[in-house]
């Protein structure tokens, strides 16, 4: 337990040293904005809830191409593994209503090579067809070589999908889950799906070999999400991201800063974000983790959070 906290702390210290040496740039804005929406089920009026939530941010989306990046791993009947398709569909409709020029949904599952199968079995294919929203398989999109802004992995570049690089407004749509390698999987870890399988394989093993936490930092520094819609209506606890237990949290988290979003989501999960290694490091330069720099729009932080179950390796994340 102590080891995990120590690792997160020393990681953050290392980033502070990199900042003072000019090796990474401080990208944190003065304040980040987060809105926690209360929504008990996917059967409810998600579109209306999202519209009301998004209006709080006064986003200028006119003429912009929007890419929604849900978290699709694989379909396990009866299990809430993926970002719910109704939430993705509602978000697509909401962004179009707010003036976006185009809305695409894109994902590159890391484990299952047959993306069409994941879409069909999980219900997203039908949802998007009904709403006439196009899906892009980021695993098989054209790729471009992108020099990295940071060097946590030691890699100097990543091949990334053209659709991601050409989108004006990237929205990370994670499922709020615990993760058996990274502690939690939220909006930042979700961008693993933007790394193309066609270049790196299934799974994207190079990122695992270079260190999941380090890879999360490099990817998010290279292609930061502009906005987050986190699916916490039903999350996953325990042995996530695939075989954990469902956890009814009844929340959707919106944010204009992925780091702030992930800090708030982790706190909603009853866990300590400063003990999640990649979050502790990201809060030093990529975005805001400190409560004083996070402005809550809409409903405040709930007072009755019950910590998510975690594997013994991540017991240090609990209070």
């Amino acid at each position: 337990m102590f080891g995990g906290s120590l690792l997160a702390g020393t990681g953050a210290l290392a980033v502070r040293r990199m900042l003072s040496a000019g090796l990474v740039r401080d990208r944190r804005r003065a304040r980040s904005r987060v809105a926690i929406l209360h929504e008990d089920s996917y059967a409810g009026p998600l579109h209306r809830a999202l519209m009301e939530g998004l209006r709080l941010f006064d986003l200028d989306l006119r003429g912009k191409s929007v890419l929604l990046k849900p978290n699709l791993v694989e379909h396990i009947p009866g299990s809430e593994v993926n970002t719910n398709p109704r939430l993705v569909g509602a978000a697509a409709t909401a962004f179009l209503a707010l003036g976006a020029k185009t809305v695409l949904v894109g994902e590159g599952p890391g484990h299952q090579r047959d993306t069409v199968l994941v879409l069909a079995e999980g219900g997203l294919e039908a949802e998007l067809r009904e709403r006439r929203i196009r899906f892009v398989d980021l695993n098989r999109d054209e790729v471009r070589k992108v020099p990295l802004q940071t060097s946590f992995t030691g890699l100097d570049c990543l091949w990334l999908p053209r659709t991601v690089l050409e989108s004006d407004f990237i929205v990370s749509m994670p499922k709020m889950k615990t993760h058996h390698w990274a502690g939690v999987t939220l909006s930042m870890k979700n961008l693993f799906g933007a790394v193309p399988g066609v270049a790196y394989g299934w799974p994207k093993n190079l990122l695992h070999c270079k260190g999941i936490d380090r890879s999360i930092l490099d990817i998010n520094a290279a292609v930061p999400a502009h906005f987050v819609i986190a699916d916490g209506i039903v999350g996953m606890e325990g042995n996530g991201p695939l075989h954990g237990a469902p956890r009814n949290l009844g929340r959707i988290v919106l944010a204009d800063d992925p780091v702030a979003a992930d800090f708030v989501c982790t706190r909603l999960m009853g866990l300590n974000p400063l003990r999640v290694k990649h979050l502790a490091q990201a809060a030093e330069f990529l975005g805001n983790g400190s409560p004083e720099r996070i402005l809550h729009l809409g409903e405040g932080f709930p007072t009755d959070t019950q910590p998510f179950e975690v594997l013994p390796e991540f017991a240090h994340l609990r209070p």
Binding site: Q112, R113, R140, V143, H180, G201
Partner: protein, 305 residues
């Protein structure tokens, strides 16, 4: 076939997955589909040229784009297998076969094996049994290992490769696949049991592994995996179903339930790709064309006995 010709990339030629960027996988599969359909079973040197032009000096192929992307073991195996099926000159694949045999995953290092043995133990597998990774400097996985084994078996039957190291890797690769099988049959990317929980098999990985393990048809793991696969012909994806058909076809002579299953699967696949323009991925179109080709056509993923 008209749809495959329509998707050929302008200029340098070859095929891409969804857009206009060359893809080794898509180009190899498209060439195989054209070959399977042509009456004289010939692909011209001009048609092979885009694929040959991407071969790197070390014998490997990149997965996409020009030669700057670096070598990819899956792409190399599928390109080499394609060139052998199409009858390209043996010297064009010799260096690549050697590169495949000599390419080792991280577990080949005793230090990494030690790590998996004593500290990184959440995924159940035997690190002494290794195959091939997707990209160099990573660990081995089911799909690239399967494709490399298919290519090496073909090379063996054509007398293109010999030597103790070749036999060692061939046997070790098969052992690795058997070790990574899911407890109730089938394969996924390569993690059968994680944190004590069995993970689900995937159709495409199962099909590829079965194609590679055709020589081992008598083993329980292979038989139960074939049964698992044949019970999932209601698959809604043309990509997986095409792999299922190509893999299962090789088992017709050893299992009586395969032929009727193939008839059902082909009917279903024909419906799924009824409008090929609606299928974005060129590899899927080419795989479907191969899977729906007359049974007299060559199956490029059948290991020759």
């Amino acid at each position: 076939m008209g749809e495959i010709w329509r998707r050929i990339l302008p200029g340098a030629g070859g095929w891409g997955h969804c857009g206009t960027q060359f893809g080794t996988d898509a180009t190899s599969l498209a060439l195989l589909a054209l070959y399977a359909s042509s009456s004289d079973s010939k692909v011209t040197p001009a048609e092979l040229a885009p694929l040959m032009a991407r071969q790197l000096p070390n014998g490997l192929w990149p997965a996409v784009g020009d030669r700057t992307a670096g070598g990819n073991l899956w792409a190399t195996a599928i390109a080499v297998n394609t060139l052998m099926v199409l009858g390209a000159a043996p010297e064009t694949v010799a260096a690549s076969l050697v590169a495949l045999v000599q390419s080792r995953p991280l577990e080949a290092s005793w230090l990494v094996r030690l790590k998996f043995r004593f500290s990184d133990r959440q995924v159940r597998f035997d690190p002494t049994k290794y195959g091939w990774p997707w990209v160099p400097d990573t660990v081995s996985w089911v799909m690239p290992t399967s494709m490399v084994l298919i290519a090496l078996e073909r090379a063996k039957n054509r007398g293109l490769i010999h030597g103790g190291e070749f036999w060692y890797r061939l046997n070790l690769g098969a052992e690795m696949l058997l070790d990574r099988a899911c407890p109730d049959g089938g394969w996924n990317a390569g993690n059968a049991v994680v944190y004590g929980v069995p993970l689900r098999p995937h159709l495409d990985a199962t099909a590829l592994a079965l194609a590679a393990l055709r020589f081992h048809y008598h083993l329980h793991t292979v038989n139960s995996s074939l049964t698992w696969m044949l019970n999932r012909l209601d698959c809604p994806s043309a990509y997986s179903l095409a792999w299922v058909i190509l893999a299962a076809a090789a088992y017709k002579k050893v299992r009586s339930d395969v032929s009727p299953a193939l008839d059902i699967a082909r009917d279903r696949l024909a419906i799924l790709v009824g409008d090929p323009r609606s299928v974005e991925d060129t590899s899927t179109i080419a795989l479907a064309a191969l899977a729906l080709a007359p049974e007299t056509a060559i199956n490029p993923f059948e290991v020759e006995m």
